[in-house]
């Protein structure tokens, strides 16, 4: 939803930070016209963390602190982290009807690589895509990862057509907390650690 520009402006902030997408872009333009410092930050992938930290540091004058944070975050990116060889296969299912999976290049996909799991839908370059159920069955991932705050099996696990997926039949679900796995952030390191722990035999 677009932010309420008036409400934001009424608080006369020194700086407004917005996630760079959709209605936020227009909101940023409007805030700029009102003379309020605004910045749009890309925050979709691990690689975005470092630059984001540095930008914020520059804008708030806290460059040194930002730089140390940025260096840690740079360490998360694929080129810098020690990547374990993939030991299991995984599919991220964010919706069941129609089945929507996460593809290559998205944050979750990156986390999977760091955690040592191969995304069976890594050949799809879009961050998310609709696939046929039979494709999931054919690619037979060992784990089905869902974004969920509880450890209860998702509703679709009881549906007859989903039980054709071996991982669903056997209850091999990974439950990823939305607050930690939803978006890159300073706790991405925790996310990777938790992920690895979940995959460990």
């Amino acid at each position: 939803m677009p932010p309420n520009v008036e409400a934001v402006a009424a608080r006369t902030p020194d700086l407004v930070v917005l996630y760079n997408a959709g209605p936020n872009v227009t909101a940023a333009q409007q805030l700029e016209r009102l003379g309020i410092r605004t910045v749009l930050i890309d925050l979709n992938r691990l690689e975005d963390l470092g630059p984001a930290a540095r930008t914020l540091g520059r804008l708030t004058g806290l460059e040194q602190r930002a730089e140390s944070l940025a260096r840690v975050m740079d360490g998360f990116t694929s080129t810098n982290l020690h990547q374990p060889p993939p030991s299991s296969t995984i599919a991220f299912v964010v919706w069941d009807n129609p089945p929507i999976i996460i593809g290559h290049g998205s944050y979750l996909d990156e986390l999977a690589t760091q955690a040592g799991a191969r995304n069976v839908f890594g050949d799809i370059t879009a961050p998310s895509a609709q696939v046929a159920l039979e494709t999931i069955v054919a690619r037979d991932p060992q784990w089905i990862a869902v974004l969920s705050d509880s450890a209860a099996p998702p509703a679709f696990a009881k549906r007859r057509e989903w039980r054709a997926v071996p991982a669903v039949r056997e209850g091999h679900f990974l439950f990823l907390k939305g607050s930690l796995f939803g978006r890159p952030g300073p706790r991405s390191g925790d996310a990777i650690r938790q992920f690895r722990a979940l995959l460990a035999p």
Binding site: P98, P99, A132, E134, V137, A155, R160, E161
Partner: protein, 313 residues
């Protein structure tokens, strides 16, 4: 002769649905494949049943409102179904059948409202008000749906719209059984109304003088067509153009006598949807298109062609 061709098309569409798909299943293994028996086969049968139901509902509706541009989704049902589904998600209603049941309930609520509106002029059901009321209620429901999606917390709600675009992903033998038990009743009601619908084409007054119980026919056709559509939406979202275009294509060969037209619309609608679903699954494999997109992409050029034929004739 034409029935043979239609039957053949139907069989081919079903076979294609079962044999083709993004997961390469070699022919020799078809009979043993889990994918084929648990996923493709029920999906093919469901596509056929849903497509057939939409075809018949569309034909019946076009005769009822005396407007060849009528589509089952003009009745406001899709709006109601969407609202039901989105409400269920927003309220975190759980259960594997939560979405279809909520969608069906929403569709029925819309049906009730539009029916009530249609009776506004008195005891006689006015088909023009049905159409207008359907559009109005549908738009109203869609507006509330959008508001809920915008205001509510769940990110899943955005994906609910994909469901609404139409998909047979939820197909299972359970779903097939439900539809197979449910659909024959409204289908039979529509078929029984075939001759009165022929009479209705002459106008309500003339139809009455020829012996049709016009009010009863209008009621039954409206309710039966709506119930079929409601079930279709509950099970597979909004799949447009099938109900609009299939009756017209059928009329080109079978004419306007509904005793032949309705069965032809059923077979034609079933074949079309099974075929469209196969395309949806294979054209951008491993990804899948929403089947409502495919039917629109096929339906619009066909519709344009039909329009030309009309204006030329």
């Amino acid at each position: 002769m034409k029935w043979t061709v239609l039957g053949l098309l139907a069989v081919l569409a079903l076979l294609g649905s079962v044999m083709l798909g993004p997961a390469a299943v070699p022919l020799t293994q078809l009979a043993h494949s889990d994918i084929v028996w648990n996923l493709r086969a029920p999906r093919a049968v469901l596509a056929f049943l849903v497509g057939g139901s939409l075809g018949v509902a569309g034909a019946g509706l076009q005769a009822l409102v005396r407007n060849p541009l009528a589509d089952p989704f003009l009745l406001g049902l899709s709006g109601g179904a969407g609202l039901g589904a989105v409400s269920a998600i927003a309220l975190h209603v759980s259960g594997p059948w939560a979405l279809p049941i909520a969608a069906f309930a929403g569709a029925l609520a819309a049906l009730g409202l539009v029916y009530r509106l249609g009776l506004i002029g008195g005891a006689a059901l006015d088909p023009r008000i049905l159409l207008l009321g359907g559009v109005a209620i549908g738009a109203f429901a869609a507006a509330i749906t959008t508001a809920i999606v915008a205001l509510a917390d769940a990110a899943e709600l955005r994906n609910a719209f994909l469901w609404l675009w139409g998909g047979l992903s939820g197909a299972s033998w359970d779903a097939v059984l439900l539809v197979a038990l449910y659909a024959p009743i409204p289908l039979a009601v529509l078929l029984a109304a075939a001759r009165p619908l022929d009479l209705l084409a002459l106008g309500e007054e003339s139809a009455g003088y020829l012996g049709a119980d016009v009010e009863a026919v209008k009621r039954r056709v409206y309710l039966a067509a709506s119930l079929l559509t409601a079930a279709a939406v509950a099970v597979s979202g909004v799949i447009g153009f099938v109900g609009l275009v299939v009756p017209h294509i059928a009329r080109l060969t079978w004419g306007h006598r509904h005793r032949a037209l309705l069965p032809a619309a059923f077979l034609g609608g079933g074949a079309l949807l099974a075929f469209a679903d196969t395309l949806a699954r294979t054209v951008v494999a491993p990804r899948e298109l929403p089947v409502g997109v495919v039917t629109a992409l096929i339906g619009v050029p066909v519709f344009a062609f039909l329009l030309r034929r009309w204006t030329v004739a």
